[in-house]
């Protein structure tokens, strides 16, 4: 895979948005001509790929997927999030049939994954216009750093501020591996298609995006946002954890605009009073 042009890399503000929300959405980024082909391609199935295959080798038998991941904006986002030459963990075509009666439980994919300085991303591609009735993917902004295992969150049906995806054809979203999500019930008369690829990084995920706006005020604004479903107290811990992730991917452990990390890490070692001035201290005998 060639290195994407600088203009197609994500900005720091977009990366901060991903770190805060666990997702990044690109509306109608795939051209109509590809969207029109997609249903037939996905119906025919995408050939399987062994776990850990380099992206440049993974889809030699699927010209359509090669074109998808090489679209300039898509390639730029992949590079920014997981770096050059990631490996393909797996891919899957998800079809929610018309009037399908069941919604998926809210879940995180794979198993609990608490890496503090690395993450996988999942590309999700929607070739059709997705309406609310078609049951577009449910996801919960800012849930990706919660330490829960797979569908143990299945009891949660609705969370305030959740995202029920409604999008134009050709939309791609990138999700952090930990985000709570699920396919919703399809109440429409149209089969709904989604194609996903999970990418694993092969480099340390540090400063892989366009850094021109690294210290823009909007970076701090993105990182300090709250979400309606956060509890008052735990919401503060969320910001603590995302600042730690931002510090990891920027390599800058001084970045802490609202002081949440610095305050509770402050353990000064400098001693002002000499031990010798304490009349109760045991005398040191030479």
């Amino acid at each position: 895979m060639p290195h994407p042009h600088q203009k197609n890399l994500l900005s720091s503000v977009q990366m901060a948005h991903f770190v805060a929300t666990g997702s990044l959405r690109m509306d109608a980024v795939v051209p109509d001509e590809m969207n029109r082909q997609a249903i037939e391609v996905l119906d025919n199935g995408i050939p399987g790929v062994p776990y850990g295959t380099p992206l440049s080798e993974a889809f030699v038998d699927s010209e359509f997927v090669q074109r998808l991941v090489q679209l300039p904006e898509v390639a730029g986002a992949i590079h920014s999030l997981v770096g050059p030459e990631p490996t393909v963990d797996h891919h899957a075509v998800h079809i929610r049939k018309a009037h399908e009666g069941e919604a998926q439980n809210l879940h995180g994919d794979a198993i609990i994954d608490v890496r503090p300085d690395a993450f996988d991303v999942q590309l999700m591609y929607y070739p059709q216009d997705v309406t609310l009735e078609m049951g577009g993917t449910l996801s919960v902004p800012g849930s990706h750093l919660r330490r829960t295992n797979e569908s143990d969150t299945g009891r949660y049906q609705n969370l305030l501020g959740q995202t029920r995806l409604v999008c134009p054809a050709g939309t791609v979203q990138f999700l952090h591996h930990g985000i709570w999500h699920g396919g919703r019930k399809n109440d429409s008369a149209i089969d709904r298609y989604m194609f996903k690829i999970r990418f694993n990084p092969t480099v340390r995920q540090v400063r892989l995006w366009n850094l021109e706006d690294l210290y823009d005020e909007d970076v701090a604004r993105e990182l300090s946002q709250s979400f309606p479903w956060y509890e008052n107290a735990t919401g503060r811990l969320e910001i603590y954890n995302r600042v730690k992730l931002w510090q990891a991917i920027t390599g800058d452990d001084t970045f802490d605009p609202d002081y949440w990390v610095t305050r509770v890490s402050n353990r000064p070692q400098r001693v002002v009073s000499q031990r010798s001035v304490n009349p109760h201290a045991k005398k040191v005998i030479a």
């Binding site: 919604a103 330490r147 299945g154 049906q157 609705n158 509890e231 811990l237």
Partner: protein, 100 residues
């Protein structure tokens, strides 16, 4: 006679369950998440079926006749895990008994 009428009652009453997740451990805190399960079978609530909570607070559910039967305990964090985030902490179970 008493045993028979108790049995008849049990056959016609079903439980509806409402789970509310609140912004703090106070029962009058705002609702941040919700789930419902309908033992009458009349409705089938499911994941992602609404963006609007049924009540603004736990107290509002009480005022509407829901009976609280379980509240999450307040547990201190495990040492070394004080900054971890995981499940929602303030979970309250309510019920209504409905004659069918």
């Amino acid at each position: 006679m008493t045993a028979v009428s108790t049995e008849a009652t049990q056959q016609t009453v079903r439980q509806q369950v409402l789970v509310l997740y609140l912004a703090s451990s106070a029962l009058d805190a705002r609702v941040v998440g919700w789930s419902t399960y309908d033992g009458t079978g009349a409705t089938s609530p499911t994941t992602g079926d609404s963006d609007v909570p049924p009540y603004a607070s736990g107290l509002d559910a009480l005022k509407d006749g829901w009976r609280l039967f379980q509240a999450a305990q307040l547990l201190p964090p495990q040492p070394g895990h004080e900054y971890d985030v995981s499940f929602l902490k303030h979970e309250f179970f309510f019920e209504k008994l409905v004659t069918v």
